[in-house]
Every structure is written in C-alpha cells, then in structure tokens.
Symmetry: C2
Subunit: 222 residues, 2 copies
C-alpha cells in the first residue's frame, strides 16, 4: 500500500518506519531538514516541505496514496491547516492526530473521523491497568519477568486452567491458586496447579510470566 | 490507591485526571504554574515543584504512594534525573515514560521496567491497522458508522456467524458475505447473512458498525 505521512516527530517517524518495514511504500514529509535526514534510511522516501503550503502539498502523489496521515501533534495550527489542504485536494482517506479536545473537535468537524490521540490513549490504558484492583501483589523475578497475585477475573471463573488458555494465549503459567479462608487475612495455597484445576470466584491466582504478556492478559481481562 | 504523577503534559494530565475520576488519590506535579492551574480542578491535589530538585521531591509522601509515574517526555534529562531521585528515595513502584531508544535504555538500566512509550505504541498500533490487508474497502455511512468489506480473518474461518459472536462482542452486524468467483474480479454476494451462515476462507465479509467497534474487531483479529 502507499502512504504519505506528514510530520516526522516521534509518532510520525515510528509510523513511517514501521509501515516501511512491513513492506509498504511510504513518503515521509517534514518541514525540518534535520528530521528528514534523521529518518531517511528507514522510510521509503523522505521529503522536506511545509505541509501548510498548498503548492508543496499538491506536488505530492496524493491520488495514488491509499491513506495520508497527519502526524503533526503540538503544532495544532499546522495540523489543522494541513488537514484542510488535504481535504481540498481530495485525499482518499485522511487519518489525523489530535492533542487537545478542541483539536479533535475541529478535525471531526472537517470530516476526519480516524483520529489518533497517542498521549491520551496510552494514559487511559495505563490508568486502567493501574486501576485493575485484581493485582494484589507483584514481585520482579528478573527485569523482564514477574510473579503476580491476581484476583481471578470474572471471565475465568468456573473454567479449568486448560480452558482458560493462559499458556496458549499469553505464554504465562499459573503456579497455584490461593483460596480465601474464613476469618483469616491470608488464604490457603492449593498446591501446584494442573490443567484440571478449576478457577473459582474469589481465588487469587499466582501467575508467572514476562511483563508484556502479563500486561496483555490484564488488559484483556477487563 | 495513591499515585504521584510527575509532569502534567498531555500524557501526565490525562493519566492524572483519569485516575482521579476512577476514585484514586492523585498528586499531580509540574514545574510550570500554568499547567498546575490548568488541571487543578480535575486532579485530587496539584503541586508546582521541580522534580529534579531532591529537597522538593523528598517533601512528597513517597512512602504512601502505591506507584509514582514519571510522565515527562521530551525533556529526557529531567525525566531521567527525576527517575534517579525516586530510585534514591526508595519509591515503591516507578513507572516511566520514554521517548527515544536511548531514553528507554537508560530507564531500564536504572531498574525501571514498566515504561510507557505513547507515541511509539500508538504509531505501531495504527501501522498494524493500516497493514491489515483484509480491509478491502470502507464506506462512511455517517461520521460514526462505517460499512467495511473485510477478507475473512483466519480465526473466524469455518465458524457460523453466531459462533463468531460479532454482535455480542463488538456490537457489529455482518450484512452479507461475498464469495470469490473463479476468473472474475468481483465476487458473488451470498444474500442476507443469518446466524447460521458459515464463514469460509477467502470470503469477503461486509460489516456494519460504529468506527470504534470495527477498530476493536480489527485489532483483535490480528
Ligand atoms: N507545516 C509543517 N510541515 C511539515 N512538517 C511539520 C509542519 N509542522 C510541524 N511539522 C513537523 O511535524 C513533526 C511533529 O510535530 P510537533 O512537534 O508539532 O508534534 P509533537 O506532538 O511534538 O510530535 P511527536 O509527539 O510525534 O514527537 C515535527 O518534526 C515538525 O517538524
Ligand atoms: N523537572 C520538572 N519538574 C516538574 N515538571 C516537569 C519537569 N520537567 C518537565 N516537566 C513538565 O512535564 C510536562 C511534560 O513534559 P514534556 O513537555 O517534556 O513532555 P511532552 O513529551 O511534551 O509531554 P506530553 O507528550 O505528555 O504532552 C510539562 O508540563 C513540563 O512542564
């Protein structure tokens, strides 16, 4: 596929280099020469131009692009101006990036509905992970692996370990479950978990895995 | 839970306000008074201080915090300095944020392994969505709803519509499937889809739904 990315900041350059590595043809545009120089080896084509200049933008092969992405963030004026020009020049599919609420509203009013909000989206995901009451405790076994104690998420209650597919889906291992004990603060450890172990409501699961895999499981279990 | 967030830029302020809205006690810190003023109504407590100043940082209730988040992005020096101080003052759990590879490497070397990279993470997710070859075409029915034509993802091949749970999981409707026809560019539309319709390899699914729900389904089907 063919893409044109306007703005080679952190978001725009990551997007351009990832798409290029996936085999797509990407034109990366930035008004700053140093940005163009910095990324030119990792993006199919890089061009130094000001995307708020209609002459410059209309010199790009917009009709051939499957999508154009406006990756300018902080400079809201330039982001909005560039988007307006691309609308005017009939770009097929425009993907925007917005920082503030106002920025988002203006983009939507211009008919751009695919809007990326990297900072907000990542912050909300992190807040959800932090909020996840289930994680009772967490020990770092090494800098990449953790053992976490997690209240059994609703979606797994009543399933056997095999049915929960922790190993298959996330490459994590449930070591054991801790069953709550009436009137005591600490629960009772129920021995080495097996494929047939049934997870019950209120159980604390003791899970070992790589940090990223544990995070994926936590994200999916909300 | 109690959190301290250093840096109230877009990421830090979104994180602080989201956690506050979820009922947590958040102290939001920024060296710029205007940032503190801007967000003070949405965050439990806001304080104007320089997080690279050990006196200032040690005046914060670090021992009570379940986690401290260094949300400073572009100013890598300040981000790294703040992290070093928090390590020195024995903060229980430090979550960092990094922009460049070098920044990430230094944070990891300091023992911080929960690192958020908003711009890169969002860029990679967007690249994966753009890369998803399945989306053949997409029509905007309204500014929030689309009809997309999508090559049947592997995970649904052989399932009936009911088994695929599109409605249940994503609130999207499969209108019909297009079966490929030998030697022809356009396939054959197979009538109105029902719960019993079986999805086969090579089918193009025509799906209607809200943009966000369609995106979730696409993300999950990779
Ligand atoms: N009019 C323009 N034409 C071309 N490139 C532009 C224009 N305005 C800004 N840029 C480029 O877009 C890139 C990102 O823009 P900006 O600094 O506004 O956003 P940012 O939020 O800091 O980006 P990121 O978070 O992705 O690093 C910069 O490299 C900048 O040079
Ligand atoms: N030493 C410091 N002490 C306290 N706050 C700081 C310090 N250095 C930077 N900040 C604050 O951190 C916030 C975000 O920092 P910065 O601008 O470096 O990152 P950014 O990448 O632009 O952030 P974002 O993408 O979240 O908007 C700013 O509001 C800034 O005032």
């Amino acid at each position: 596929m063919k893409y044109i990315v306007f703005g080679l900041g952190n978001f725009g350059s990551s997007l351009s280099t990832t798409l290029t590595a996936m085999g797509h043809e990407v034109i990366g545009v930035d008004k700053k020469m140093d940005k163009v120089e910095l990324h030119k080896d990792d993006i199919t084509h890089t061009i130094c131009l000001d995307s708020t200049d209609i002459q410059a933008v209309s010199s790009l092969p917009l009709e051939d692009a499957d999508a154009v992405i406006v990756a300018i963030g902080e400079d809201e004026g330039a982001s909005i101006m560039t988007t307006a020009l691309l609308k005017q020049l009939h770009a097929k599919r425009i993907i925007g990036r917005a920082v503030s609420e106002l920025h988002t509203t203006v983009m939507q009013a211009m008919g751009v509905h695919e809007i990326s909000r990297p900072e907000q989206t990542s912050a909300i995901r992190l807040a959800k992970r932090l909020n996840f009451k289930g994680v009772v405790d967490s020990f770092e076994l090494s800098d990449k692996h953790n053992i976490i104690e997690l209240k059994c998420p609703e979606k797994y209650v009543g399933k056997t370990l095999l049915e929960s597919e922790f190993r298959k889906k996330y490459n994590i291992t449930v070591l054991t479950t801790i069953k709550p004990v009436e009137g005591k603060e600490d629960g009772k450890i129920s021995g080495v978990a097996t494929a047939e172990t049934v997870l019950e409501e209120g159980d604390t699961l003791v899970i070992f895995g790589a940090l990223d895999d544990l995070k994926d499981m936590l994200d999916d279990s909300e």
